[in-house]
């Protein structure tokens, strides 16, 4: 499923378009949205990269 590789573009869109997340609310565990939204992209990006990783053969 090579289309999974296109998922790697999502972090660029989600993080480089600042108006998506430059807010205080809703906050989570005391973190304003600006902070937890960007921190949340860390595991999300790792997961998307893993999906893309599975489309490669592990030989090379």
């Amino acid at each position: 499923m090579k289309w999974h590789r296109w998922l790697l573009l999502l972090p660029f869109i989600g993080l480089l378009w600042v108006p998506f997340y430059n807010f205080r609310e809703p906050s989570l565990f005391g973190f304003p949205f600006f902070y937890w939204y960007q921190l949340a992209w860390v595991p999300v990006t790792a997961f998307l990269t893993w999906l893309a990783y599975r489309t490669y053969s592990h030989e090379d």
Partner: protein, 498 residues
């Protein structure tokens, strides 16, 4: 000062420093090669590092001691804007995933050790090779100097006066890098990264409790910025483009540096690199939490003479002494790994793309390794002299320009992996325009990373390195269209065959 406590801190610090020193020298025997007298053994650890070693090595080398000091310091002083390091160190991995396995394969198949080797192998152009090599070395030198600043901050916080401790630490580092090559930082990185993780987890778990919780930390920071009248815990609308372009430009530049590329080339396979692109974001999570120490500095009402003191001061105020010593050791050891890899990367470039290219083309493998070992010593002494005799600001300014410069090597190094359309003269022209134009813009703005671009009615402020990269690519495309295309030679280059 808390003299007794400082003894405990100092003892812990010295213990760990002694431990990694022994490890640095023992590393020469680790995964023992037939001989270290070959550049891809000394300088790339034999290209056999698997997933975990690569994870520790690149993590230890990319998230430097200076990062640990400087990112919280920037967040402390300007707020949300300093957080661009987080999106930067997230989007860098999809880029690494897509690009670096291809680059690794070219290097592995043809025995290349440096970025400039790859460029010469692809385009058969000595000028373009030299451009990439010189840019790499010049951009790396101030970066090594910054590691010394990080180490100096930790040593100062321990209460050790004078420059002697710093010099001693660096001389030891220079000696075991000389004898063990890339195996030394790769082995030390295990200790360094484990220590940094312990410190960061302790800091983000314990410190907010002492300061009244995360909500209170953000409230205190918000209040401090309001009183100060500048900065803030959210971005101002005119900072949006600056934030995004700094993140993107830094992400594209990050793996053009010799030290990060050394980590890539030293891995065992393309698959190792892809797996690491999945696993390395763990360090980014740590960096994001670490950045919040800047706000904790506000909540703890620290009084600082310099923003760079925020992390050491916070540890000293809120950790028991022995643990503060552990934390400072983590930072100081954190400087050793990148400084070692940077000097190795610079030495590899000098050896392959200057010495072998211009001074002694007949040099054999043992000769290459000998030249690189000496060069790594010279590079480190140079960085030490810069820190001892030139103002700190000089290293910081050079580091800023270094990021801009190294980014200009991207088209020459990366485009050839995906298309054969570009020619060497076009890429060289693009590199020159990006480098000179970008430097001029930054210089004219008083060495600031941001430049205001006026597009019709509106002015946007963007990262000058990315503006220069735009000019670089445009010029390369333009020259390629104008200059009649000569077929590029893509056959294997005899001089690199082993």
């Amino acid at each position: 000062m808390r003299t007794e406590g400082n003894h405990a801190a100092l003892a812990v610090f010295l213990f760990f420093f002694a431990l990694v020193t022994v490890m640095g020298f023992v590393a020469a025997r680790w995964r023992r090669p037939e001989t270290l007298a070959r550049l891809d053994e000394w300088g790339l650890g034999g290209r056999q590092f698997g997933t975990w070693i690569t994870w520790f090595l690149i993590g230890g080398d990319f998230y430097t001691a200076y990062t640990v000091i400087a990112v919280p310091a920037l967040v402390y002083s300007v707020g949300a804007y300093g957080f661009f390091a987080l999106p930067y160190t997230i989007i860098v991995y999809p880029f690494v995933f897509a690009v670096m396995p291809k680059l690794w394969k070219v290097a592995k198949d043809r025995g290349f050790v440096t970025a400039a080797d790859v460029v010469h192998g692809t385009y058969r152009s000595r000028p373009l090779e030299l451009a990439v090599a010189v840019t790499g070395v010049v951009a790396t030198m101030p970066y090594i100097a910054l590691q010394l600043i990080g180490m100096a901050a930790a040593i100062k916080a321990l209460g050790l006066a004078g420059e002697l401790p710093l010099i001693a630490a660096f001389v030891i580092l220079a000696l075991y890098t000389y004898s063990s090559g890339l195996r030394a930082p790769a082995l030390i990185a295990f200790v360094k990264d484990a220590m940094i993780y312990v410190v960061v987890i302790a800091a983000v778990a314990l410190i907010p409790g002492k300061l009244g919780g995360y909500a209170e930390v953000f409230r205190a920071a918000d209040e401090a910025f309001r009183v100060k009248g500048s900065g803030g815990i959210l971005l101002a609308p005119d900072q949006y483009v600056a934030y995004a372009t700094l993140a993107l430009g830094s992400a594209l530049a990050a793996f053009m540096y010799p030290h990060t590329l050394t980590g890539v080339f030293a891995s065992r396979s393309g698959n190792t690199i892809r797996k690491n692109a999945v696993l390395l974001p763990a360090y980014t999570l740590m960096l994001g939490l670490l950045a919040l120490l800047g706000y904790m500095g506000h909540a703890a009402h620290l009084r600082l003479s310099s923003n760079n003191d925020v992390v050491p001061a916070l540890f000293q105020a809120l950790f028991p002494n022995w643990f503060a010593g552990f934390a400072f050791a983590a930072i100081a050891i954190g400087a050793l790994v990148p400084a070692a890899v940077m000097s190795i990367g610079a030495a590899n470039l000098f050896t392959r793309n200057f010495w072998k290219a211009y001074v002694n083309p007949q040099i054999d493998e043992a000769g290459e390794a000998a030249v690189a070992k000496i060069t790594s010593l010279v590079v480190k002494v140079g960085a030490l002299l810069v820190i001892l005799y030139l103002p700190t600001q000089f290293a910081l300014d050079l580091q800023l320009l270094g990021g801009l410069w190294i980014l200009q090597t991207l088209p020459a190094l990366i485009f050839g992996l995906f298309t054969r359309w570009f020619t060497a003269p076009a890429l060289f022209a693009g590199w020159a325009v990006g480098l000179i134009g970008g430097t001029w813009l930054a210089w004219a703005d008083g060495l600031k990373p941001l430049h205001g671009l006026t597009l019709g009615e509106t002015t946007v402020t963007a990262y000058v390195g990315l503006i220069a990269l735009g000019a670089n690519v445009l010029v390369a495309v333009f020259v390629n269209l104008l200059v009649p295309a000569r077929r590029m030679v893509t056959g294997p280059d005899a001089s690199y065959q082993r």
